[in-house]
Amino acid sequence: MNHILPLFVAVPLGTAFIILILAKVWRKAGVPFALLTSICLVIFSVSVIGQASIYRMGNWPPPWGIVLVLDGLSTLLLLTISVISFFALLFSIRYMDRYTAKPKFYALFMLLVAGMNGVVLSGDFFNLFVFLEIASIASYALVAFGCEEEELEASFKYLILSGVASTFILLGIAILYSLTGTLNMADVARTIGNMPANNAVLFAISMFLMGFGLKAALVPFHPWLPDAHPAAPAPISAMLSGVLIKALGMYVLIRLIFNVFGLSPFLSSVLMILGGLSMVVGGLLAIGQDDLKRLLAYSSISQIGYVAVGLALGTPLGIMGGLFHLINHATFKSLLFLSAGAIEYSTDTRKLSKMGGLSNRLPVTTTSAAIGFLSISGIPPLNGFWSKLIIIIALVQAGHYILASVAVLVSFLTILYFMRVQRHLFFGDLPAKLAKITEVPYLMRVSLVLLAIMCLAMGLLYPFLSGTILDPARDVILEGTAYVHRVFGV
């Protein structure tokens, strides 16, 4: 029994409300409280590495009470969420000076973190849905935070599409509940396992694929992402692209498909087709973009495709590659979105065609952005190279030669569009308008540099990472529906 588990949700939730109360008397209450909570969450998530436990809320046993389940997979996600949210917060301290209503920003940010932590830890369907909605609603508000036309339109589109997805998810949960009479995920898995093959289960799975596929922005369900991610303030773009689509989308899909329903060849091929489509479509659409953040958003769709393909393979190496790419994408994509935010902060534009020659004026920002670009393009020894390599090797080993060649081609596409970005951003002549720009504030640079160092370190320290956090996560996925025994056995 580990008493830290409920704190992952309760602490950020409490901080959100405390910030709003204190903000009435102290306008700057947001920063210290949010930062302190974020540091606490990083410490909590580091302290649970290597542990596996079940927490019964109010001491009610599993099929009836609410349980929080901690295992390798949730630890991996918790760690990613807390680390990325810490860097995003560090960046936001000065970046958010341009906005008013800062306490509300930090309160919503904390709600977003609480919701994601809840989704990752939850052991039953209904709580998962509730936390999913907490995180989603916080993100709608955060996308619209600028309150300008672009932000409101993007947020409205995101709200509607994501609302439809949530409805599908709820419908799926309702079908499963009527079928099994329980909401506990392990209990549902056990009941379904003892049942003959049932079309209602397949229908529920398709609802989940659609709903969580939309949250993960897999290709037929992606149109909200290229609007929502660029419109949000930069730290929120980093959170959305870096962790939200993974915690709310990919993580839940993996958890349900592997641990609750069990991976069938049919499900595996569906997920692989979705992943392959995402890789190609996201990559192709990214090439023509002139808006830097929009380009990054399309690239997120392409990269989440890699994660989906790797995980859907179901082989140990494929899952390893998928999980490694998941955390790598979280680091370099948040680095890139924060860099894009820093560049926007200095130059006041996101249009690539209006920039040029920034490497002399913004040395730190452009250097860390360049590390991000190299990492996402898969240049050794940065982290993106290793995870793509593992995924491609796993695809070849499993005999999926076509998908493997597609993955290699999309990797070239990634290099192509990031070369284009580099040419527009760093080289060429500095436009006269941008002659007086200066480097971004110190705290923003610290966050960028630390993330860039992480990109390098995660590439070099792969053996260490694989031993501590990736292997336990892979084992959880591989054990499949044996998850049931873990929840009921403790």
Partner: protein
């Protein structure tokens, strides 16, 4: 419309004056008996909120905001949420988060079921304050959009609900 009429007609005001107290009382009853009968914090809170909304509809924005201001609503909202969380944390004394640590008493008595009525009260306060705040926000938002100060809403602007707060 040269001058904005405060609230609705005399008929609505008279009926409103009569029923508002009963609606609120009924809401409080639903909250307090949540652990014994159908209902609880959420439905009770919604009923209490509708009493205040009726107040605002029939007597106008100013009267309602004088009785129950938006800052008060927002503060009450946050305090109620925090107190609900505190009930969860107090459970840790007994060893588990959200443990029902108070003596459960005799079933079907008003003072029974340990922390459940307390949690219901916290949720009721939270929901009523929150729904009322949402309504106030919508009311002020409509005012902002209809008013002359329409342009100049940029990233540096407060959200419409805020501009209502600061103007007072």
């Amino acid at each position: 419309m040269t001058q904005e009429p405060e609230g609705m007609t005399l008929i609505v005001k008279s009926i409103g004056r009569l029923v508002i107290n009963f609606i609120m009382l009924f809401g409080i009853y639903i909250i307090l008996y949540g652990h014994l009968s159908p209902g609880g914090g959420f439905p009770g809170g919604v009923i209490v909120a509708t009493a205040f909304i009726l107040l605002m509809l029939s007597f106008g924005r100013k009267t309602a905001l004088r009785k129950f201001g938006d800052t008060t609503a927002s503060l009450l909202d946050n305090f109620a949420a925090l107190s609900f969380l505190t009930i969860g944390f107090l459970g840790l004394i007994g060893g588990y988060f959200f443990l029902n640590f108070i003596d459960r008493g005799i079933p079907f008595q008003l003072f029974s079921a340990g922390t459940i009525p307390l949690a219901n009260i916290a949720i009721g306060l939270k929901v009523s304050a929150c729904l009322y705040a949402v309504f106030v926000a919508l009311a002020i938002f409509g005012k902002v959009l209809a008013g002359p100060e329409q342009d100049g809403v940029g990233p540096a602007e407060e959200k419409p609900t805020d501009s209502g707060e600061h103007r007072r």
